[in-house]
């Protein structure tokens, strides 16, 4: 037998596709797929909201509290006063399907949130930073606005959507790109909800005090004062940028002809 030397044939075992083409196809394609799924799931949540009324929700979650919540003492004066303020504001929302409950979270990070069943949680950090009742009233009115638009359920839906993505791609750091694409899509939706909640909250504050003075003073302070940087970052992660937000609120107050100057009520603690 005769040995004939031959060069090895190349390209049989290796695809022709350029690695960068392969990479961009996968990244763009997957980001698009994740964003589409996220939008589709938002519509599913909307559909669920249509079938479950706010009354059903209030019955279902009437005395529910998150397990990991650490509250202040139940005889705390601030808890009593905040609950009173919420009740006063809610009285300007005729036919509200919820009985609002206030809890104060032990956390030093300023934030406020609306949870299913009419539960409003404000953090100690927020109470330490507000300087007048009017400032606090707006934050609470904003949360009431979330209940009115039922954004708190949407937020819950978004949380579920994101954790589903995490479950699918667990242990695959590459797919984090897809999760971020979904997150950004969802955040775009939530900004509009924040603006609507601001407008509703402003309306409640106006009905209660006859003016909207100091409603956005807390945000103006955060905008200028860099010392509470950590608070700002945390608050921003769940709320729109403060600069745009103040401008939007001023525009809305002007449109509705709500006075922006008035008597300021001191905090009662």
């Amino acid at each position: 037998m005769r040995f004939v030397a031959k060069r090895q044939k190349e390209g049989v075992n290796v695809s022709d596709t350029h690695p960068l083409v392969e990479a961009s196809t996968l990244i763009v394609g997957l980001a698009a797929i994740f964003a589409i799924i996220a939008v589709a799931l938002i519509f599913v949540v909307e559909l669920a909201l249509y079938f479950v009324s706010a009354e059903d929700e209030a019955n279902l979650f009437g005395d529910w509290l998150p397990d990991d919540l650490i509250t202040v003492a139940p005889n705390d004066e601030r808890l009593y006063q905040t609950q009173l303020l919420v009740d006063r504001l809610a009285s300007h929302w005729p036919g509200a399907p919820y009985t609002f409950r206030v809890e104060i979270d032990d956390s030093e990070i300023a934030n406020a949130m609306a949870l299913p069943g009419g539960l409003i949680i404000v953090t100690q950090g927020l109470l330490n930073q507000v300087e007048s009742e009017n400032e606090l009233a707006f934050v609470l009115g904003h949360e009431l606005g979330h209940f009115r638009n039922r954004d708190h359920i949407r937020a819950l839906g978004r949380g579920i959507v994101l954790s589903m993505f995490f479950a699918v791609v667990t242990g695959n750091d590459a797919a984090g790109i897809g999760i971020k694409a979904a997150d950004i899509t969802l955040r775009g939706f939530s900004r509009r909800q924040e603006t609507r909640a601001d407008e509703f909250g402003l309306g409640l504050v106006h009905s209660e005090y006859g003016h909207v003075d100091e409603s956005w003073r807390l945000f103006e302070r955060w905008n200028i004062d860099g010392s509470s940087f950590l608070d700002l970052v945390t608050y921003l992660s769940t709320h729109p940028e403060t600069g745009d937000r103040i401008a939007d609120m001023k525009r809305h107050a002007e449109l509705e002809r709500w006075p922006v100057d008035g008597e300021i009520t001191d905090l009662s603690w």
Partner: protein, 167 residues
């Protein structure tokens, strides 16, 4: 200021991973190209050295001595290949970024085996086999591949008289 936070966030979320990916691609493809150049050059030098996969020696080989020779290479993924393969793993299909990697491993292992045989004065290798094994885990949870080993082995022979029966 909040505009800056937004930008920093955007950079941390998308810019940084993209930058690392590009750096990994740059180094990975440079090393790969260089390796392929070296493989082609050395294959050309070994062109007249018979390496065959017959499991019995051809009848016309008149052999004076023989020995087992091996060549092995341990090769690792770069971050770019790993990430793209991870994305591919979500939807399935050919993992195209791994193909050139394993191609390099196979040819390099065969080359090392042949070079070893030639250094020891052998004229040819038959019964050549390739084995591969996953080397270790890149992460403590047992997931991720740190690298693969490609092992080539065969029986090297020294001819008493080259292709005695056919020439």
């Amino acid at each position: 200021m909040e505009g800056n936070i937004e930008q920093i966030n955007l950079f941390l979320n998308f810019g940084l991973p993209f930058l690392i990916l590009m750096i990994a691609y740059f180094f990975g493809s440079y090393i790969e190209k260089r390796h392929f150049r070296s493989i082609r050059k050395r294959e050309a030098e070994l062109l007249d050295f018979p390496v065959v996969s017959f499991d019995t020696m051809p009848d016309d080989w008149n052999v004076s001595r023989s020995d087992m020779v091996t060549g092995s290479i341990v090769i690792s993924l770069d971050y770019f290949k790993r990430v793209i393969a991870g994305l591919r793993g979500l939807i399935g299909g050919r993992i195209k970024t791994y193909e050139p990697l394993l191609e390099r491993a196979r040819r390099e292992a065969l080359l090392r085996m042949s070079e070893e045989a030639r250094t020891q004065g052998y004229d040819a290798i038959f019964n050549v086999r390739l084995e591969t094994s996953r080397l270790a885990n890149a992460r403590r949870d047992g997931k991720g591949v740190a690298g693969v080993e490609m092992l080539a082995f065969g029986t090297a022979v020294k001819f008493a008289s080259r292709f005695a029966n056919s020439e």
